[in-house]
Subunit: 387 residues, 4 copies
């Protein structure tokens, strides 16, 4: 597919994700790490405006000079930006104005992409498209948070249902022999800078589950007192859990002594066979300790990824988010994309029900702070053998 068609398709998908929303839903920010949907619509547009049009198209007419301040997420090199915590403070520009902003930028992008573009610029364009796809996932998880923390529990989908669990015929753990494995992306086809360079690692013999942990499994952990027993938890996890009074995954509610879960289809009884979702790293690690196992490292996950089904949950790994050997930031402002976050975050691998189609690969490194729960994060277990 040519660049223009790709651009149009991905940009169109973003808007279509907003179709079920009321105007009020576009505006709010019920927690600091949540962005209002209208902010996502504008920020992804700002990316193309700033890094493609303003930088490369002399005839481009800026839509509104105040938007750079409002919709720059955090690129320190591109000027001042509004504080993340205040995104929900701004009622203006309205949704309508932001859609006009999108149309304005899309119109110029149409003109711009009518001509062939240089390789360097193509890289930035493709980065912008992947960036927009990342925000499609964030848009979904943010609006789930917006609706799911509302006392009225409004559904997002009014038809259809949650995807089925998909099984391998045989759900036994996969044994992986000790030895040297190659990890990371070759750089052919698109990848983020954090997936490179491809390099060798030595793994001890290990077993990794072919299945994700289910709601049923996790309920067993809860009911056996897992949230009350210190020995399963990291020290700072224990503080987190007491301070935030956490005793179940996000979106679980015990109502009249029955567990309910809010999903995009509304509030309904907990589906026991579904893979557990919306757990923090702290909870994933505590669950693993309770089960006498551990989380796989990201290298173990990637080495075995062709042998099990994945894609419904981002899977917490036991690896901190750090640069690979030979890691290089991109030049310029887009070099801020990944490297500056490589501290105090844990890696998640896989993809989720909320991930845009085509936006996943086994070398993809997602990352969040260990307390984050609003992504579709789940658990797969592993253990070291014979060491």
């Amino acid at each position: 597919m040519d660049y223009l068609s790709q651009y149009r398709k991905i940009r169109g998908l973003t808007l279509s994700l907003c179709a079920p929303l009321q105007k009020e839903d576009f505006v709010v920010q019920p927690a600091q790490n949540i962005s209002p949907p209208k902010w996502h619509l504008a920020h992804t547009t700002w990316f193309f405006e700033t890094f493609i049009l303003k930088a490369n198209m002399p005839t481009y007419q800026e839509f509104n000079t105040a938007y750079n301040f409002l919709f720059n997420s955090y690129y320190e090199s591109v000027g001042d930006h509004a504080q993340q915590a205040g995104r929900g403070h701004f009622s203006r520009p309205t949704v309508e104005e932001i859609i006009a902003y999108r149309e304005h930028v899309d119109r110029f992008m149409d003109l711009f992409l009518a001509e062939p573009i240089e390789e360097d610029l193509a890289e930035t364009l493709i980065l912008g498209l992947h960036h927009e796809q990342q925000h499609q996932e964030l848009l979904l998880t943010d609006l789930k948070y917006i609706l799911g923390n509302n006392p009225l529990f409004p559904p997002y989908f009014t038809a259809g249902k949650e995807p089925e669990k998909h099984h391998l015929p045989d759900d036994k753990p996969i044994l992986m022999p000790e030895g040297i494995y190659e990890i990371g992306h070759t750089g052919e086809g698109f990848c983020f800078d954090n997936e490179m360079k491809k390099h060798k690692v030595y793994l001890q013999e290990y077993a990794i589950d072919s299945q994700l942990i289910s709601n049923r499994d996790f309920l067993e952990f809860i009911e056996s007192g897992g949230y009350q027993e210190f020995r399963f938890w990291h020290s700072e996890a224990w503080e987190w859990l007491k301070e935030n009074k956490v005793n179940s995954p996000l979106y679980w509610h015990k109502i009249n002594n029955e567990w309910q879960e809010y999903t995009l289809w509304g509030l309904h009884p907990l589906a026991l066979q579904q893979p557990v979702c919306h757990v923090s790293y702290y909870e994933a690690a505590a669950f693993a300790a309770w089960a006498g196992m551990r989380l796989p490292t990201e290298e173990e996950w990637e080495a075995a990824a062709d042998k099990f089904n994945w894609g419904r949950r981002w899977e917490w790994t036991g690896s901190a988010y750090l640069p690979y050997p030979g890691f290089q930031k991109r030049e310029g402002a887009t070099g801020e994309y990944n490297g500056k976050f490589m501290i105090n975050q844990m890696v998640l691998r896989g993809a989720s029900d909320a991930t845009a189609k085509g936006h996943s690969r086994k070398t993809y490194r997602n990352f969040f702070h260990p307390a984050a729960r609003w992504q579709y994060s789940g658990i797969r277990l592993a253990q070291t053998i014979n060491l």
Copy 2:
């Protein structure tokens, strides 16, 4: 005017204040003490639903049981309520749903008020109407904050202009002789419980300005270094000022070396002859110290109120908000209306450009924390003579 006509008129005015708003403006809460406009629309409705209809009309059908939690402001005796700080987290109910809620309650109120009502209930009804008028003022000041803190500075009014300053022909200070004065409301006609009981006070001889302090006066304070000189300030005011980097009234912006002010008509050059507005008690007291004078007490203000024009600014007094001799709370939940706030707040007297017509009298006691600036608060000076 009969109760029903009064009810309809006041309720209608609330909605008409919202006419210039975009839907997005109804939702946000850019600071903790600001409530989203849609919250005001619902909360004032909740008052009539809870204290009139649910308590007295057996045929009333509750609109939505979740609304009690959402729109109870703080009446501890009427059940759990959402935290004030989270009002801007809720996109639902939508503006449309809240207007439907208003219409539902208004329909039942129409029926209810078709019959004569008992005196006790009439008192609660009238309290509800005054409560709605108080929220009309808050609605205006909150939406001023919402629009005025937006980097785009959208105007609320697109026509008309700020009221003129109104003068007494002679603007000399008013001399008030030493002696006994009667303060407080007799209780004939409506008043809040905090305005009673009428009682005698002894005032020393004093002078009180017939004019409010103007923007020109306050600019002189700024330009002579008033914000930098500790001796004019209370100790905690100094902390507040340094922590919040305050160096002018709220809504003043120095742009290209020229002072601009945001008003409901948008951002424009500071109007020097207008009475200064949006100052905290801290600033009012510091200004007075700089001018070698002081703020009047609330008793001094009330004793002299017939001798000067007032009504454009709520005027900070030097009095703390405390009960009058013989103060009695109302019985029941509406007894929470005033008494529980009588600590760490200062009294303001008068009324403002944002006050509903008919909702002012010289015994009215408004009150805010000394740091509050988002109301139309201004300054009038006084001094003790011959003591």
Copy 3:
């Protein structure tokens, strides 16, 4: 007594209060408003060094120039000062060094006071002596906090016992007729600036208790659920109480189902007949509401003070700490003594078991934030009659 004798006597008393302390007790600051005893020893010395010796005695040799930064409490006009919250961070100067500092300053004061001094300076000297007496009380209440919040509950006194309650023969409330009263200090003999000017007030008829509320009375409030019932409390008191899990006066401990109280004599069973102590304004006001009465205003207290015994507890009044009519700050740095605190504090009248002898009078205005409990604060009730 001549100035020098007074100086020596008061300075000596400060040290003698420290006799029962271990060196370690001089250093710690277990809460922000508590100062380490060694800080009190140094700060009171700094006052004489700064305002008497450095300002007036050319031959004075400064002990250590770093001490101005360390022991200036908050006089913004006398240069930078260490943050109050960090007083307990400094192990040096040691207690021994601080005693050497006292001796150094005392030696020069001896020389200085050998000659007659001018009236202006005498005023500052006397202010310094009263300042030292105020710190004698703070020293006692601070070290009570230091010892009383230690899990080992070490006593301060190892002999003697708490003073007896002293009664009027007849403990009926005192009736005070409506009318004009004179309040405030004439300025003859020493007083603080906040006690002036003497002025007339008009009081409604009222009754004031001749007795303080006892531990027995307060226990009744606790046992009838007073801490659990919202209607007795101010709104911000309710937040304070829930956040700090307050359910009894400071230093009360329910151990094995029996109420114990820590006093300077150690931990022992609650003495029911003693006047209740270490309650906040919030608790005093809630107790009064529960009892169907109120706290007296400071004017009511002063007008009746000759008719009841007082002096064992500082008594919370219902008055905010504000300037009297005609209030004037002193000139210069000592003008910071009182006026800058006249916001968000409540007045206490009387004196306490911890007050230095001779350091009380009926016009004395003490003041604290409504949540403060570490002073010997108690409760006397009043009510308005026939209004």
Copy 4:
């Protein structure tokens, strides 16, 4: 050396480190992560009392039952414990009482160790000795913080001087070939559980400096604007730096335009040839980015450790603190020693000027939060070759 001799020697060393202190120095806690020296003296004693004597010696007489609460650091399984932030709030027990506590426990340990002990118990004893040695280092770094943050800058040592820098004759980077290396402790001789199990890793070809970064090097970073340029910093490091106004290593002071450094010998001009000290991970990583290099991983460090001198600075690595393959916690309360901290901390390798003699080995894994600066933390650089 037999256990008893080892015990006596190590315990004696702890006390001798305190010889230069004043009593006041034992008490204070100027920052949350600093413990008062007397707390260290008591806590290390508590370890032997709790895990050796109370658990294994029936005739042991507990010194004071309140001490378990006071001196348990954080072992959740051994009962309640005082909050870390409040250690500096307690003046009692006094230093003298704590020394009596040490003597009491030592006396019983003498008796206990007179008999042979079982292997399990010997393990706990040795753990206790290593624990005490760890606290010897913390004692030194904590008292450096106590003295070094005092405006009087008192020296700890009044004689002697800082160790010289020790050089390899040739200071060129060490080249390490690609391949499989063995990492971790075999478990023969003492090690902490976090150093096991020994396992293979695959390292890409890399170079590692034979020298630590010097104060001169770091000054160049400062003077070229390193603290002002965002691109060298992690995103959260940038927030940290702005919030804490960091612009040099801890204990550096620019006085009259000359850089001074506080060391245990007092404040003196910065020694340019000394290895830089008291930098956070954030600063170490930013320095490396500025230099176009990176920090070594802990595996790279360990693989090359025999080829360079180390021991003067704990050296930040680019590795997060995570379990090795096959990691097992110890059974019982001492299992809380390491595992529960394996989140959001970075590994440091080496040892420092403050480390007890004999308490270092190349497999030792120290760990701190990335903002920690009060340890003797330094910088060694590395880079990947040919990838």
